[in-house]
């Protein structure tokens, strides 16, 4: 066990898994960065440096830089997964899914079902999400709900370096297509991470705070903000249970409902778009399965239903923050 960054935790998972299984390959744009040129071959190691050094260890027959050509290389990863490899594809920003959605939505997600169970799809697509970088509307989205909407996909969004490693290792060993979303603000987050390989099961939420007054559900970076809000509120006499859902698909419905049965109040925090989003989904779950446990209306803390703005002051208004979460919690406990 040692302190590692979110970036290092991901790199360690990839490295250890690729050492373990020679059928694991990586494919994406600039995951080495500079291949075929006269300069440094592993110049970038991915646009955020997550895959740095893997080309050197595993070589160009395991780590594939591609042209900027998402439909073809994501599709190739899907085809390779169906024919015996375990590809970890890198989609630089989840916003770029628009360039390759067919291969994810109509091919990877549906092979097993369409072929009557006679197909494996051990594919991971690692991709960045999240606003807060002033990267504006096409490099800042958080599209887990879009993927969760598609049966056949699993959707993961880790909140800590520990979870990043354990969930990615599980994703690589999983036989279904996994969309693995990494919030771009979190790569330098630090935490205790075991040196040896380990996995964290999907669909098992993490209770990061325990409190009797209200349940806060969130995912990824929002789960950390929820915990921060809970700590602030604890000092003011409001005790929150914080559930880091870890995966949007599968969703740990049982943990959510059980917690609401105990607290009677629910706040859902999510960075995705509000319409048909995860927050609305969790609210609907509780309305259909635990309605009579509720002592107050469910409160949702999400961005407005707009694209992500560029101007830093507008972006700050857009992304849910600790102040909005604490306000929402105070609101649901006031009655």
């Amino acid at each position: 066990m040692s302190v590692k960054s979110f970036r290092e935790a991901l790199n360690e998972s990839l490295r250890q898994e690729m050492r373990r299984d020679p059928t694991i390959i990586m494919i994406g744009e600039d995951i080495a960065g500079g291949i075929g040129g006269a300069g440094e071959e592993d110049a970038w190691g991915g646009v955020m440096g997550v895959t740095k050094g893997l080309l050197g260890e595993f070589g160009a027959n395991r780590v594939f830089d591609t042209p900027i050509s998402e439909m073809s290389y994501i599709g190739a990863a899907v085809g390779a997964a169906a024919t015996g490899l375990r590809p970890v594809a890198d989609l630089m920003f989840c916003d770029f899914i628009g360039c390759c959605l067919d291969q994810v939505m109509n091919q990877a997600a549906k092979f097993r079902y369409m072929f009557g169970g006679e197909a494996e799809m051990p594919l991971v697509i690692r991709t960045q999400c999240g606003a807060g970088f002033n990267a504006s509307a096409q490099h800042s989205q958080t599209l887990h709900a879009l993927f969760t909407h598609i049966p056949g996909l699993k959707v993961v969004m880790p909140a800590t370096p520990y979870d990043a490693k354990g969930l990615l290792t599980h994703a690589i060993r999983d036989n279904d297509p996994v969309i693995f979303l990494e919030n771009k603000l979190m790569y330098d987050d630090k935490g205790e991470v075991p040196d040896e390989p380990y996995t964290i099961d999907f669909g098992e939420a993490n209770f990061t705070r325990d409190g009797a007054d209200v349940t806060i559900c969130a995912l990824g970076r929002m789960a950390n903000l929820a915990a921060e809000a809970a700590d602030l509120l604890a000092g003011q006499g409001i005790q929150c249970t914080v559930i880091d859902l870890r995966t949007a698909s599968p969703l740990d419905e049982e943990s959510i409902c059980e917690s609401v049965e105990e607290t009677g109040r629910l706040v859902v925090v999510d960075e995705g778009n509000p319409r048909c989003g995860l927050a609305a989904d969790v609210a609907a779950l509780v309305a259909t399965k635990a309605l009579f446990a509720l002592e107050a209306p469910v409160k949702l803390v999400t961005p407005p239903h707009t694209p992500v703005p560029f101007a830093p002051n507008l972006e700050a208004l857009y992304v849910p923050d600790v102040a909005r979460i604490t306000a929402a919690v105070r609101d649901v406990v006031k009655d």
Partner: protein, 321 residues
């Protein structure tokens, strides 16, 4: 591989099986006995057989919405396919895929595909698997003239070239992308476009089994040896409409009839092998009737086979959840 007597019989058997399969489904569909969207490949048999005769089970193909012929030519089970088209639980995909999604990965058949051009990146993936694992397997993407204008196709021609993948682009140009003539829809020349991506490319008469077979022989040999992707532009014709129920009025009157009468691939094959004394007419006739029996039995099986159970609705979405 030079064609011996056995090979000729096999080639004819495959083409004849596809024709009979398609013609019978056409009739069954008219009677309302098969559900769903059906796209038939009658007329295009020489391409499927001429290419797949060079492939082994470990080689992959991906096909299109018009995929029955490729599936049969690659060795998919006739009964399993018929059962699938009849939406039965005994089908190759347990009745959950249908005509547009017939697949059998154990036969190297990566699936028919409902999305035009989508099989092409998938094929690159199968080729990538061969490259990473160091086998000499190849992967063939069958696609139509319509798919030749899809971004997926253009991207993959480039990707396959820069990654030096053992992949063959088999462009089956039947003259019409759905209802729109390829002569209008394809800007520039097909071979020049492929060559622009650095792919060796050649045009082949897709009505002539021997022409396809010979062209593919050279191509597959080179691609197996690791020289990179190539394209075959196979000119052929589909006898039926784009989908079953399409009256195909976008084609001039008499066009289909003329092709059937003058360039039918089965007719040309028979003429060639009997004239050259390679096979006897009686032998071919016997094969014809064997195939009719085979398809009769497959239909009989499909009609009697059980439907999927209601519980099957919920299975096979994930391996674990």
């Amino acid at each position: 591989m030079q064609l011996n007597r056995q090979d000729l019989i096999e080639a004819y058997r495959r083409m004849r099986t596809i024709r009979e399969f398609e013609d019978r489904i056409h009739l069954l569909n008219e009677k309302g006995e098969v559900p769903g969207f059906i796209h038939l490949s009658a007329g295009q048999e020489a391409s499927a057989a001429g290419i797949c005769m060079h492939l082994r089970d470990a080689d992959y193909i991906a096909s299109t919405h018009r995929g029955h012929g490729h599936s049969l030519a690659k060795g998919c089970d006739v009964t399993g396919m018929m059962d699938e088209i009849f939406a039965k639980s005994t089908g190759l995909c347990k009745g959950k895929g249908g005509s547009m999604h017939i697949a059998d990965l154990t036969k190297g058949m990566l699936g028919a595909n409902g999305i035009v051009g989508a099989g092409i990146p998938l094929t690159a993936g199968a080729a990538l698997t061969a490259k990473v694992l160091g086998t000499d397997n190849v992967a063939v993407a069958f696609f139509g003239d319509g798919a030749f204008n899809e971004g997926a196709t253009l991207e993959t021609m480039n990707l396959a070239k820069v990654m030096n993948l053992p992949m063959i682009f088999a462009l089956e140009d039947n003259g019409y992308g759905e209802a729109t003539p390829a002569s209008w829809a394809i800007g520039g020349d097909v071979l020049e476009r492929a060559k622009g991506f650095g792919l060796p490319a050649q045009r082949v008469d897709g009505h002539d089994f021997f022409a396809v077979y010979e062209a593919m022989r050279g191509v597959v040999e080179q691609v197996r040896a690791g020289t990179g992707p190539q394209l075959l532009h196979i000119k052929l014709y589909r006898y039926y409409g784009h989908f079953e129920g399409d009256a195909a009025t976008y084609r001039p009157n008499g066009e289909a009839k003329k092709v059937r009468e003058e360039k039918d691939c089965l007719m040309l094959f028979r003429e060639k092998v009997t004239t050259a004394g390679l096979l006897e007419k009686a032998q071919l006739d016997a094969l014809d009737s064997d195939v009719v029996t085979l398809i009769d039995q497959a239909i009989e099986h499909a009609v009697a086979a059980p439907k999927p159970e209601p519980g099957d609705l919920l299975t096979n979405v994930y391996s674990s959840f």
